[in-house]
């Protein structure tokens, strides 16, 4: 697994961004960018240097599910693996995220072990 890949963490709560960032650092990923909703995330993604996207669902402005759909609809971004980290726990929502092309789904509150496991699993699959 390459550790120098660039990861974008999108969450409207700075607390959560910091937690995820720190856990990524523990995994050896230090090249991390942040955005506080889909609207601010998209331009960062479109600059074209993001290799992995971790996003919340429930955010003002543009939600995570809309961001996921926008990423999958953009030929330049559609290849980016997306991990959803969210408190949204309805079955319909998880199914909708899966259908929209999410690569992993972690519900909050999560443990460090779970988040690390899901991230590693995604990297395993994409090689």
């Amino acid at each position: 697994m390459k550790k120098d890949i660039k990861i974008l963490v999108v969450d409207d709560f700075s607390t959560m961004r910091r937690i995820i960032k720190n856990l990524l650092r523990d995994l050896g990923f230090t090249n991390v960018d942040e955005a506080d909703d889909g609207k601010t995330a998209l331009p960062i993604l479109q600059q074209g240097r993001i290799d992995f996207l971790i996003t919340d669902w429930n955010m003002p402005g543009m939600t995570g599910i809309d961001l996921l759909k926008a990423v999958r609809a953009d030929p330049n971004l559609s290849h980016i693996p997306v991990l959803m980290v969210t408190a949204e726990a309805k079955k319909e929502q998880i199914i909708a995220a899966a259908q929209a092309g999410v690569n992993g789904y972690v519900i909050k509150p999560f443990t460090a072990v779970v988040l690390k496991e899901k991230i590693e699993k995604i990297f395993e699959r994409i090689g």
Partner: protein, 267 residues
């Protein structure tokens, strides 16, 4: 015409009905059908008016209660400097302030966790230096009888201490991750803020409506009523915020359920 209809409330309705009913019977006995129909209309109008007066009463009462609640709470909230917090005029602001406080507090806790983790790193480095020194003891052990067994015993102490460092690192990471409660509570509070904003808006509408009704007194009240539209169909996948209770209908209760659901979808 009915007198004081604008202030008529439920208590007065029965009395009025009695009087009007007797009047109606008398009018019918006298054979004045036109007057009788007029009386029936007046009765109906009185019933509507009572309803609107009650609603108006309720609305004003609620508005007063909210206002006095706000000023009541305002007097009790003081910040860490012992000053009253200005411009905390409504409950939404106060809830937003709770989010702000917990956010600040979470970050401060995480600052301390970061500092602790760097101290743990330092311990880890010291442990490595310790290992080098131990190697020296190991080499000297053969030459000095008094040192016999010291290397092994020190090694086991060092291993123990390395285990403790690892444990400490895990506990600190747990403290870090547990700060995510700020996000969860923040999302719940935001939902309450949204709800309150909605209620407040509807309340103002209701007050406007009741004041309009008062102005329209004597006119056809039915025109104002029965204006309720079907609520918009709820978006099935719209953001819901954190689940309050486990086993809420249609919600999964833990990560295992999510994994199971996703694997059933071929993940």
């Amino acid at each position: 015409m009915i007198k004081n209809l604008s202030v008529l409330e439920f208590e007065g309705l029965e009395e009025l009905l009695k009087i009007k009913a007797q009047e109606l019977v008398a009018t019918l006995d006298a054979g004045d059908l036109l007057k009788a129909v007029e009386l029936i209309n007046e009765l109906q109008q009185a019933r509507h008016q009572v309803f609107y007066n009650e609603v108006g009463h309720l609305t004003r009462g609620l508005h007063e209660a909210i206002k006095s609640f706000s000023s009541d709470i305002d007097e009790k909230i003081v910040d860490d400097m012992g000053k009253k917090i200005p411009s905390m005029t409504d409950a939404s602001d106060r809830l937003a302030y709770v989010i702000e406080l917990t956010d600040k507090n979470s970050h401060e806790t995480m600052d301390r966790v970061d500092r602790s983790l760097s101290l743990v790193d330092r311990l880890d480095n010291q442990s490595e230096r310790f290992r080098d020194l131990l190697m020296l003891v190991g080499q000297l052990e053969g030459e000095f009888k008094g040192l016999a067994g010291v290397y092994d015993r020190t090694c086991s102490v060092k291993n123990e201490s390395e285990k403790t460092i690892e444990e400490l690192r895990n506990v600190l990471t747990d403290i870090l991750v547990s700060q995510s409660v700020q996000d969860i509570t923040g999302q719940l509070i935001r939902r309450v803020i949204n709800l309150m904003t909605q209620v407040e808006k509807q309340l103002v509408k209701l007050m406007e409506m009741s004041s309009k009704v008062e102005r329209l007194r004597g006119m056809d009240i039915d025109a104002v009523a029965d204006d309720d539209k079907e609520p918009e169909a709820a978006d099935a996948i719209a953001a819901q915020g954190p689940q309050l209770k486990k086993k809420e209908a249609g919600a999964v209760s833990n990560q295992d359920d999510v994994d199971e659901l996703l694997s059933s979808l071929g993940f």
